[in-house]
Amino acid sequence: MRAFRKWHRIIVFIFIVALVLSGCSQKNATTDTYKQTDETSGNTEKPKDGGNLIIGTSGSPTLFNPYYSEDTASSDIEGMIFNGLVTVDENLNPVGDLAKNWDISDDGLTYTFHLKDNVKWQDGQPFTADDVVFSYSIPMNKDYTGPRASDFEKIKEVKALDEHTVQVTLKQPFAPFLTSTAGYGILPKHLLQDVPIKELDKASFNTKQPIGTGPYKFVEWKDGQYVKLEANKDYYEGRPHIDTVTIKFIPDANAILTQFQAGDIDYMALQSTDLATGEQLVKQGKAKIKTTPSLSYTFIGYNQLNPLFKDKKVRQALTHALDREKIIQAVMNGDGKIANTPGSPLEKWAYNPDVPTFDYDVDKAKKLLAEAGWKDTDGDGILDKKGKKFSFVIKTNQGNKVREQIAQVVQQMWKEVGIEAKPKIQEWSSFIKDVTAPTWNFDACILGWALGVDPDPSDIFSSKEIAQGLNFVHYKNPELDKLMAENTKITDREQRGEMIKEIQAGIAEDQPYTFLYYDNDHIMYNPKLQNVQQHPSIAYYKIKDWWIKQ
């Protein structure tokens, strides 16, 4: 569920503070060893009930209501309290959650969901189709004040056919419906129907007593300290093994690692910069690490409002000049994989591995730049054209060590081909203000996108998204625009996949970004914790099946 709302959200590492201590760890960690440190699930020990799990995280939540929260800290916890109709499996295919199964009409407009009939709310009331109708009608209401209205505006009507059947009719075919909209958590009608929609964002339900259908029940939230959850013994898929789950908020990233080493937390997300430290703990038998490619990539975006970047050849040359493999090795200890398109290889059905690539080739970069008219006429080592130097500022956000280092490395690499880039590190909010509409005050920027489960690229690359949306690099390709507008209307998956692959090839050729690499996600946990499962976009995946070995 979390993923659907995390859709394309920028990865924020606000609280990472660079620290001397990380220098204590050895530098030459290899990427292979930690992958082999698993898996214990090979043995068939019988899971035991009981125990308390403490999860350390840097982000504090804001409230627990899927229709109002905007941050992953909140939605990660919501994922344990609430269920949606549909969720996704390890391969990002839709599978039923509260819905047993569903039928889609041939015109792609009507979805009929058959709900599971053994589901109860955590307060004992039965879950019915009315709850679904109630929940979906919240963001469709004109008094709704939350940020999710646009996800539901494609819906024409939601109605309950009987106690366990819901029918959703769309205004037009919308292929991402199942994995985006139908993933929203369902709220209990019997507890919220008397709250006016206008005041629902301030309802005490959201912060003091959220009640869902999920595997864990809310116990208490101590602001700045922790959120405590306890097992929902009547969960419809059976009792979760672990008695209580406490999510502890530790703002400082180094302090999270310290608390893990001290044994005060059992589970944490491990940043790639701390991988070497983590690996040492694994060797000492104090930790286990799991890794999955994440649904995200890091890129350099070129603002086409700046005449420097208008020419496709120049953008291709900029990519040719960068040794991305070396960047991954030098900055990330090899923890990443080169990206060439905006699609993720995790979404096999819509990923094109065969796009035009612009691999490291200094000569080719120089040649392309010369073709575009850039030559070093005054012999100062920097290319120029009509008296103007090829010099620009590359911005990124402060607090993300990796991006700060990338800015310096690419500065060196571009210098080789006669391009001057000046890094500028900015505080997050002011950086975003500069980069996004309507300011667009940047030349180039280093950023990352966390991708949604649905591979539709139009939110970022369609020219419709220039004026106000997220196409802040001002990329425009009329042919691809047409395809992007078309792709969400095709319900046949294979056909749609082909179209998305074509779009990816077109974007790769145009290089509005230099696609740098796909990130990896790492989790580190106490070896006592068994059967931990990791998912590229769902936090605490299948936590119901985790258990603690005493």
Binding site: R5, W7, H8, R9, I10, V12, I14, V17, L19, L21, N52, I54, S60, T62, L63, Y68, E70, D71, T145, P147, R148, A149, S150, S180, D201, K202, N206, T207, K222, D223, G224, Q225, Y226, K228, T246, K248, F249, I250, P251, D252, N254, A255, T258, Q259, Q261, A262, G263, D264, W428, S429, S430, I432, K433, T436, D459, I460, E465, Q468, G469, L470
Partner: protein, 316 residues
């Protein structure tokens, strides 16, 4: 004395008003707004605009300021822009006691440790003891507290697990005073560390000064033992300038709390302030700025009053 206190309180009102205007302007100058944290294609620009409009963030700054001031005069700090619907006062009241506890313990710790060392240093000037204390306090001043914090955690929570690694209490355990104290020691020490160094230096120089005075020589000449001379005649007089620092320590504690609370996961206002600043949660930032300013004003007032109590020569 009473009229003096009343006058001081009256003077601090325009002072706080000035602080509020300045900080309001500075916060507004910072680029970005609370919506920069939800850069998400599912949140359409219209929805963002609606958010900004709903919270009056598009109004001219002076209108926003007067609106805010009007609310404050009615005892209303407003509602957090990020933590939906939670009143700012509730957020702060939940955390202020933790910060005050940390600050008071640090202050006590700082005085308990630094005054004896300052005296020791002053009674044996230019000896090995003096140089050791002096060097130690210079190191204390020069070392950033986030570093001391992490090193102490590394040693006393990870290598030799004597202390817990963070938080105010053990999770999933019943309340106990000992447990609370146990969690308090490391952060209080780290927060105290930088001021401890300054206080030791102050005590040393003030004490050195006093020990050269004629009345000390007189006391010694009367045949009092040197302990009594140092502590009864010397220290009491030497402490006068030291006490005034109490008021000046408060601002540095508030600043230090931001760092220490983050490293130790201490749920106080410093931690809240950092989040609010990054998220541009204006009502929370303003409320915390005003509370800190008030604390500083009160701290200064207290040290002036203490001054009068300790030093009989001073009258108001």
């Amino acid at each position: 004395m009473i009229t003096y206190i009343i006058r001081r309180i009256l003077v601090s009102i325009p002072l706080l008003l000035g602080i509020s205007i300045l900080s309001f302007l500075i916060i507004q100058l910072a680029p970005g707004d609370p919506t920069s944290l939800f850069l998400d294609p599912n949140i359409k620009p219209e929805d963002r605009e609606a958010f900004i409009e709903a919270y009056g963030l598009n109004d001219p700054v002076y209108i926003q300021y007067f609106h805010w001031l009007w609310q404050i005069l009615h005892g209303n700090f407003g509602q957090s822009l990020i933590m939906h619907g939670i009143p700012v006062s509730e957020l702060i009241l939940g955390r202020l006691p933790n910060t005050l506890l940390l600050m008071v313990s640090s202050a006590v710790l700082a005085f308990i440790i630094s005054i004896p060392f300052g005296v020791l240093s002053a009674t044996k000037p230019y000896t090995l003891t003096d140089y050791t204390v002096t060097t130690a306090s210079f190191i204390g001043v020069a070392t950033p507290s986030f570093w001391i914090g992490l090193v102490l955690l590394m040693f006393f929570a990870v290598k030799f697990p004597i202390f817990p690694s963070g938080g105010v209490a053990t999770l999933n355990a019943p309340f106990s005073i000992w447990d609370r104290l146990h969690h308090l020691i490391l952060p209080a020490f780290v927060l105290a560390a930088s001021d401890m160094a300054g206080l030791t230096r102050y005590t040393r120089s003030s004490m050195l000064d006093v020990l050269r005075q004629d009345y000390i020589r007189t006391a010694r000449a009367k045949g009092f033992n040197s302990r009594k001379v140092v502590y009864k005649h010397g220290l009491r007089n030497a402490l006068i300038p030291v006490v005034t620092i109490v008021g000046l320590i408060i601002p540095s504690f508030i600043g230090g709390a931001v760092v220490v609370e983050n490293i130790f996961g201490w749920p106080g206002i410093g931690n809240l302030f950092l989040n609010a600043a990054f998220q541009r949660d204006y009502p929370v930032i303003m409320a915390l700025t005003m509370i800190s300013a008030t604390l500083v004003v009160i701290g200064n007032l207290i040290s002036d009053i203490l001054y009068a109590i300790i030093d009989p020569r001073i009258e108001y």
